[in-house]
């Protein structure tokens, strides 16, 4: 039960985007379509789970004063690994996410979970926390991307060419694809998520 709470808190209660407001820079920048949001969310999930795992393994070997540089080195290594592996084996996805993957390093969410959770908890809880937080982040990005894509370009792309829908022809409200639309859409989504949170807890 404790582990389930550990996992599910990332979705609504402590959702990185809607409740903790962590990692908003990539959130606003990449969510021009649902697919971009999903890809970025899943890449972040991988990094989050792996860095939480490693940090919780080495937590007792790290002197307190150099813990932050150590965490950053661990995180940056995993991000570089993800970048090289996607470029080599899924070049199509890499092309879509190319410039966003290195951005994961500067996502406060990853460092935040290492510092606030993984460095104080055991390995299993840390992995579950990383998974829950990562999937919560992916969900938030996908929803935000879907809203912006539907309003802005009149389509919905979950997987290009497989799960792609055109909802109406012509241009939508272009502002939603641009940067200001990201802030507007995020503002309304935070409001909805907050209402939901009040009802549930």
């Amino acid at each position: 039960m404790k582990q389930w709470q550990n996992f599910s808190k990332g979705f609504i209660k402590d959702n990185p985007v809607f409740a903790l407001f962590l990692g908003l820079c990539p959130t606003l920048a990449v969510t021009t379509s649902a697919y971009n949001g999903l890809g970025m969310g899943l890449a972040t999930t991988f990094v989050l789970v792996m860095s939480n795992l490693v940090v919780s393994i080495i937590k007792n070997l790290i002197p307190a004063k150099v813990r932050i540089p150590t965490f950053i080195v661990v995180i940056a290594s995993f991000v570089t690994m993800v970048e090289m592996l996607t470029e080599a084996f899924v070049p199509d996805l890499y092309e879509q996410l190319g410039i966003f993957i290195p951005l994961i390093v500067v996502n406060c969410l990853v460092l935040g979970r290492s510092e606030a959770f993984a460095s104080k908890n055991d390995i299993v809880s840390s992995i579950i926390d990383g998974l829950g937080m990562g999937l919560g982040f992916a969900m938030a990005l996908t929803v935000l991307g879907a809203v912006r894509e539907i309003l802005g370009s009149g389509s919905l792309t979950l997987i290009p060419e497989l799960l792609e829908f055109t909802l109406y022809e012509g241009d939508g409200m272009l502002v939603f694809v641009l940067a200001p639309g990201a802030f507007i859409a995020l503002g309304y989504l935070i409001m909805l998520a907050d209402k939901l949170k009040q009802k549930m807890y």
Partner: protein
Amino acid sequence: MASKESTFTNMVLTLFLVTLAASATLGFIYELTKEPIAQAKLRKKNAAIQKVVPRFTNQPNNESYQVAVEGDSLTLYPAKQDGKLVGVAVSTFTTKGYSGEIRLMVGFNPDGTIHNISVLEHQETPGLGDKIEKSKSDWSRQFNGQQPGDFQVKVQKDGGDVDAITAATISSRAYCDAVRRAYQAFQKGGLQ
């Protein structure tokens, strides 16, 4: 946490070991992915060349050469069918895009008309400037079959013949700039 004391030796040693382990792992992954990445890039380049020139039987990538244009040099890929030149693909770019560089592959027929153009790389605004891509809009098809000698590759606002994308004049202008540069390179060294 922190069962270890933060003494100078401890900190230096920890950081040294962590960075050592990280760089060793990354070096290993780099070696592992070097070959597949190079192959993926080559496949992408070949696919782009195939899209913009008529059918060919040679390996344009192995016969490529550079031509200097406006203080820069562009790479030309000659496409040959049974030893006869059927087209030239020019890898071109512009720095005048709305956000960053735009890279194009422009295919010319031997008589200088544009066969086809494909976008290799860009960061234009989604929903506006990204209509330069064929998958997003038919805009770029207006170049096909045109001869840049008679067809002014400039947007109509600048006195040219190109119908610009609505609300993305800067992207359209940049696209034209890249195509013009490709044509200059083709004129200089396309029929070697």
